[in-house]
């Protein structure tokens, strides 16, 4: 991809009075990456996105895009475009006029404007609905219109603020596939804010996990998921057990746990819950220190050697499956 269009955050800080919403974070997004900013609400991910977009002033630090400092440029001059959480389509304009809005603002003549808007609507498969008003569209259609509107400015970076949160679960999965496809086709950087870890894992090439105004961990999605560095990351991404062992906290993936006889195991436990999940069985056990640990066993594994509630078991894992945690 085009090396020149990397997006970089340099000790980016946002303060609201005495509270620090974003605390000197730094990250380098390579051009053409699909990146997710992931974290619980109030972790500073939305503020970060809004600072990149230029809708929020920067308290400290800077943002560069393609080596150009864009920290204090107006939103439209940055080479970024934003897709808003509720899509923010202009309710009084047709879909076509919404998409063509930025061209109208820059004084492009009507014919060119309509043609370009037409191309964009074709890209998101909305040609048939071009003359509708936003209120006459479904959530998914509104999202496509908003996408077309953001993309018509030919941005180098598309910023998406919880783009799927307003959709029902079924549509959410379909739209996320479309987002990913679109990003691959366009080859531009997408920065996507979400609090849903499944969404982040499904979409992102890289994820940036934020907590308490700081980046907890960032990197290639698989690396972050496979080797969480803190208890927060392990818990937030899910499918991990965070266990306090004599030599410190570790994270072990639920599907890396094996049920063994008590004597041979790293941890003894008592089964407190068995949950059948179709392809898998989730087996929850209490282990010393009143901790709960969940083992995800394949149905064959479990029903080949069924267990009962209250039964004493041993839990074991391969040494390399455990990751020592910082906190």
């Amino acid at each position: 991809m085009n090396q020149k269009l990397d997006l970089e955050l340099i000790s980016l800080t946002k303060r609201y009075g005495a509270t620090v919403a974003v605390d000197a974070i730094g990250y380098h997004f390579s051009a053409g990456t699909y990146a997710c900013l992931l974290g619980p609400s109030g972790c500073g991910k939305s503020s970060t996105l809004r600072m990149i977009a230029g809708h929020e002033n920067i308290s400290d630090g800077s943002i560069t895009l393609g080596g150009r400092d864009i920290s204090h440029l107006p939103p439209a001059k940055r080479g970024t475009a934003m897709m808003f959480q509720n899509y923010a389509l202009f309710p009084h304009l047709s879909v076509r006029d919404n998409v063509a809005f930025s061209l109208k603002m820059s004084g492009v003549d009507t014919a060119t404007r309509r043609a370009r808007a037409g191309e964009m609507l074709e890209l998101v498969d909305m040609t048939a609905l071009a003359d509708r008003l936003p209120a006459q569209l479904s959530g998914g259609q509104q999202q496509r219109a908003a996408l077309a509107r953001a993309l018509i400015t030919k941005p180098d970076v598309l910023l998406l603020d919880e783009p799927l949160s307003a959709l029902d679960p079924f549509l959410r999965i379909r739209m996320r596939a479309e987002l990913k496809k679109l990003q691959r086709e366009l080859g531009i950087t997408f920065v996507h804010v979400t609090h849903g870890q499944d969404e982040a894992l499904a979409l992102a090439d890289e994820i940036v996990v934020m907590n308490d105004a700081k980046i907890e961990q960032a990197g290639k999605t698989r690396n972050v998921f496979d080797t969480p560095k803190t208890a927060f990351v392990a818990r937030f991404l899910g499918s991990h057990n965070v266990v306090a062992m004599p030599d410190g906290m570790i994270a072990v993936r639920s599907d890396a746990l094996k049920v063994t006889p008590v004597e041979a195991a790293k941890l003894p436990g008592t089964i407190t819950n068995i949950e059948y999940q179709g392809t898998h069985v989730a087996l929850t056990a209490t282990v010393p220190g009143k901790q709960e640990v969940t083992a995800l066993l394949s149905d064959k594994e479990f029903f080949g050697n069924p267990k009962d509630l209250g039964e004493a078991i041993g839990l074991d894992w391969q040494a390399e499956a455990a990751h020592a945690l910082a906190r």
Partner: protein
């Protein structure tokens, strides 16, 4: 079902009754009387078109109606400009809701005094030896007192604007407050300047409020007689003054006919306005 419809009628009855007694009946009365006849000393029931014929063929009627429309149009322009500006400032530039409410209440404070008092208090200010003239003279801007400050179209319109701007501010502020703030950001994201955002986003979305404010102001100015009387020093006339004069001379049929024509004019204007914007979705 039967029971429900009875309850429905009962629920609608009190308001219908109030409207019937206090709106429909008086208007019907005015319409009826407008066809009556009158002599210098009496009025008599009749069904004749004399009043209308006299009004619609009189040059004076047209001049007075034109004057009334002129007041309404100029007042509308000024109240609209001030209304949009104030509402925009309150809705988009005041960040804290406490301040928004405080400043909004500040706008309504003049309304705690009576119309007449607010109107009359302009007189010492604008008069020949009033504050405005003496200040301008002492500043050396003018040598002679300005004659057109008081008892002129200027003072009439000034008073109208002063009295009725709030009726423009309130509905416009109300619609502007409902505009999603992210639309402003979306406009900025699309490269719109402040003015472009105002013209292409804020104003179109404030149209219902503008329309409601317009109806208030137009209806108030068209029906007014006291402001014109005081502020023009009885030198200008509008339709309200014409009706008032007729009533003073006990020419009720003629006054009624004028009132009916005024009512029809205002209804036509409002009807036309409503064709442009659907205000029902704002109410």
């Amino acid at each position: 079902m039967r029971n429900n419809s009875v309850i429905g009628w009962l629920l609608a009855a009190p308001l219908s009754l109030v409207l019937l007694v206090f709106l429909v009946a008086p208007v019907a009365m005015i319409v009826v009387v407008s066809f009556w006849g009158a002599t210098e000393w009496s009025i008599y029931p009749a069904f004749q078109f004399d009043n209308y014929e006299f009004l619609l063929t009189s040059n004076v009627t047209f001049r007075v109606f034109f004057n009334t429309l002129k007041y309404a149009a100029i007042t509308w322009v000024f109240t609209l400009l001030i209304g949009v500006t104030v509402a925009y400032y309150l809705a988009f530039h005041i960040r804290s809701q406490t301040w928004q409410v405080a400043l909004f209440l500040l706008c309504t404070i003049p309304f705690l005094t009576s119309n007449i008092i607010r109107m009359i208090s302009w007189i010492p200010f604008l008069g020949r030896n009033g504050i405005a003239n003496s200040t301008l003279i002492s500043m050396g801007v003018i040598d002679e007192p300005l004659e057109w400050l008081l008892f002129s179209d200027f003072s009439v319109i000034l008073a109208f604007v002063h009295l009725y701007t709030l009726f423009m501010i309130v509905p416009i502020f109300n619609t502007m407050m409902r505009i999603d703030k992210s639309l402003m950001e979306a406009a900025a994201d699309a490269g719109a300047t402040g003015w472009q955002t105002l013209w292409h986003v804020v104003i179109p979305l404030s149209k219902p409020g503008i329309m409601i404010g317009t109806i208030f102001v137009v209806a108030l100015v068209m029906g007014d007689f006291i402001t014109v009387r005081f502020m023009s020093g009885s030198q200008s006339a509008n339709v309200g003054r014409m009706i008032q004069n007729d009533i003073a001379l006990l020419q009720y049929p003629s006054a009624s006919a004028t009132a009916v024509i005024l009512l029809v004019t205002v209804l036509l204007m409002i009807g036309t306005l409503l064709r442009f914007v659907d205000i029902r979705k704002e109410l």
